[in-house]
Every structure is written in C-alpha cells, then in structure tokens.
C-alpha cells in the first residue's frame, strides 16, 4: 500500500537539496518562494531520481510542477452539508465556474517563467465542503496549473458532519479515520454526489489536510492521530490549518506518534499584504525548533503562538 518511491528514512540527515526535493513529494511543493529566495533552491540533477506528485490528473514529476501554492481552494467552498443542508446547485453555474477559475489560475501561470512554471496548487477544500473531485479534474484540464487535491476534516470552530463526529468517537475510530485517509490516497477520493461513503472516484488525494480550531480538541486529536497513521503508511505529506492556536500541540503530537516532520507543513494564518491575507506555511523540518521560530517572529502569528491557557480562557468566556 505504501508508495515505495516516497519512503524516507526518518533518521537520516538531510541536505538542503534533499530537503527541497522531498518536500515536493506528493505535491508538497516543488518550489518554496519562487524567485526571491531562489538561490537557496538547488539546480536539478539530471541523474537524480525524480519523484511524483499526485495531481487530480495523475502523477506528475515534482520537477515539472513549478512554483506550488500550498493552500488554495478552487473552484468552490460550500459549508451546506455541515449545516445538514443540501449543497449549492452546480448545474447552471458549473461552466461559468470552470471558465472563471481556469482564467484565475492561468493568470498565476502567466506570472511564472520557464524556471518557475508551469505552477501548481494544493487544493485544500475539505471533504463534503465543496470538494468535487470531478470538478477539480475538469478544472485541471482547462488550466496549465497542476491541481493537487487533499483529504480534510477538522473541527475548526464550525459545526461538523454528523458522520465524521460519529466516526471519530466510534470504537476504533482513529483507525477507521486513518483507513478513510488511506483509501482516498491510494484508491480515490469520496464522491460527494450521493450519500457519504456510497461511492468513490478514481482521483487520488495527494495531500492530507487537517486543522485545529483553538487548542487541539479531543476530536481534532483523533483526526491528527489518524492523519499521522495514514502519512506513515502511505508516505503522503500532511498539511495543517491552525485557525486560532494548536500548532505547538500539533508538532508535539506528530513527534509523539513518529510522523515524519519532513513531510509535515504547519499553516499559520496572519500576514496581511496590500489588503490581502497571505497564509504563511512553515515546514518544520525539525519540530524542536518550532519554539525558536515562534520566538523569532514574536507575536505576529497568534494562530501558532497562542498558548493553550489563552485558548481555554477564550472558550470559557
């Protein structure tokens, strides 16, 4: 079940070149910052084994992805099922969606050059929250930008799918969650056109996405443990979304269960530039330096820096 080409020895030392190449595994990003920090990017070595990223159109060699935006949503987000409502209708607007979003992605592609293109995005829309694998596939067919889908469920301070809550709390719930992660990674993503779990597509997820709301709540902890299990089993990288805290606990948990930190991305919200919100994602190659990272950037990243007691106080208010 595990992808042998993606296996990594946890104990081996890592060179900068190895680091960058391996973080691109399964679409975790062929490039970091595209040009400003490009001297830190190694030149491709012709004789090196090239690994693949799992896009919605199939595996793509990571050295053919180009600059990869690590956390986007395209084309849709729809929270209806979290509120036990029917999802928004797609017929009648689907064509417009595909046309418009393909243009937006092609605009991104057009900013890149031969060295930084064609470009890719990691599509982080949660399962049953507007994640339509077939729609993503059709979008990918209309743009030069590669699309890497993810599997995701979290509490994230919102109401949640009843099936997900029941699954998490069920006997052997963590394992069952992990099995679902693994199925989406190795066989194909769940098809939202029908009741949950009725059928699956043949489009594979290339990333595991999980999240925290404030601190790492019990239900979120279960999902994190399942994600770690699935990552260890498949080699698929994990990306997280820290809404208003929990990053340090995530790091501690991943270390505890021996998930590979070289394949884990902690997402930190909070940089505003020109009126737009930019998400800074920090790959923690060594979780132990997370504290020093937080200290070095001060209080500008409350989503990862906030201490649990602060979150508790907020919950208790």
């Amino acid at each position: 079940m595990a992808d042998k080409t993606a296996s990594v020895n946890h104990s081996e030392s890592i060179t900068r070149r190895d680091y960058l190449q391996r973080m691109a595994l399964w679409g975790a990003g062929a490039c970091l910052l595209p040009t400003a920090i490009s001297p830190l990017l190694p030149k491709a070595q012709a004789d090196e084994k090239v690994l693949n990223a799992q896009t919605v159109l199939g595996p793509v060699p990571v050295n053919q992805l180009g600059m990869t935006l690590m956390h986007e949503h395209a084309p849709t987000v729809d929270w209806s099922e979290l509120y036990e409502e029917k999802p928004g209708p797609l017929p009648g607007i689907q064509e417009e969606m595909l046309t418009n979003v393909a243009k937006l992605l092609n605009d991104f592609h057009d900013t890149l050059n031969d060295k930084t293109g064609p470009g890719a995005i990691v599509e982080c829309t949660p399962i049953r929250v507007g994640r339509y694998p077939q729609l993503m596939k059709e979008l990918a067919e209309r743009t030069k930008v590669h699309i890497i889908a993810s599997w995701f469920w979290c509490e994230a301070a919102a109401s949640q799918h009843r099936w997900a809550i029941e699954l998490g709390y069920a006997y052997n719930g963590v394992k069952r969650f992990a099995d679902l992660f693994i199925r989406e990674i190795t066989e194909g993503m769940e098809d939202p056109l029908g009741e949950f779990g009725e059928k699956f597509t043949d489009m594979k997820a290339g990333m595991i996405k999980i999240a925290t709301s404030t601190f790492l709540r019990p239900s979120e902890r279960r999902v994190h443990e399942a994600a770690a299990t699935a990552s260890i089993e498949t080699g698929c990288p994990i990306t997280t979304h820290t809404t208003n805290g929990g990053g340090l606990e995530e790091a501690q948990l991943f270390l505890q269960v021996k998930a590979n930190p070289k394949r884990s991305v902690l997402a930190i919200r909070g940089i505003k530039m020109t009126g737009r919100m930019i998400m800074l994602m920090s790959i923690i190659a060594s979780w132990q330096n997370l504290d020093s990272m937080c200290n070095s950037i001060g209080s500008g990243f409350p989503s990862i820096h906030r201490k649990r007691r602060d979150a508790d106080s907020e919950v208790n208010r």
Partner: protein, 64 residues
C-alpha cells in the same frame, strides 16, 4: 516583515506561502434555499505570492 524575520532567524528553507483564496463560495449554506444565486464569485488573485510578495521581499532586503 514577518517572513524576513524568519529568514534572518535561519528558517529560510522552512517557509512556504499561499493565498488561501476561494473563488466561489456558496453563501446560503445555512438555509434551505438551494438556489444558484447563493453562489458568490470573488475573482481572487492567485498571483500575489508570485508577484507582489517577491517585490516586497526584495524591498525588505531579501536578495537573490
């Protein structure tokens, strides 16, 4: 600039960026309306990281 602080602290190769942008959101998610009009389109800019951010980093003294 926060990214510059991370770079100065030796974390350059631990930084990834993105927009967390969403072009289409179904805004009537908490109602039973279920109409096409519930879809909201925002022509988000997926190019900020590859253009504006690069310029800002250069201004902040990040050299190639």
């Amino acid at each position: 600039m926060q990214i510059r602080k991370l770079i100065d602290s030796g974390h350059t190769n631990q930084i990834l960026v993105s927009h967390d942008a969403v072009p289409y959101v179904y805004t009537d998610y908490a109602t039973s309306k279920n109409e096409i009009e519930g879809w909201s389109y925002d022509p988000v800019d997926f190019t900020v990281c590859s253009t504006i951010l690069i310029d800002e980093l250069k201004k902040a003294g990040c050299e190639r």
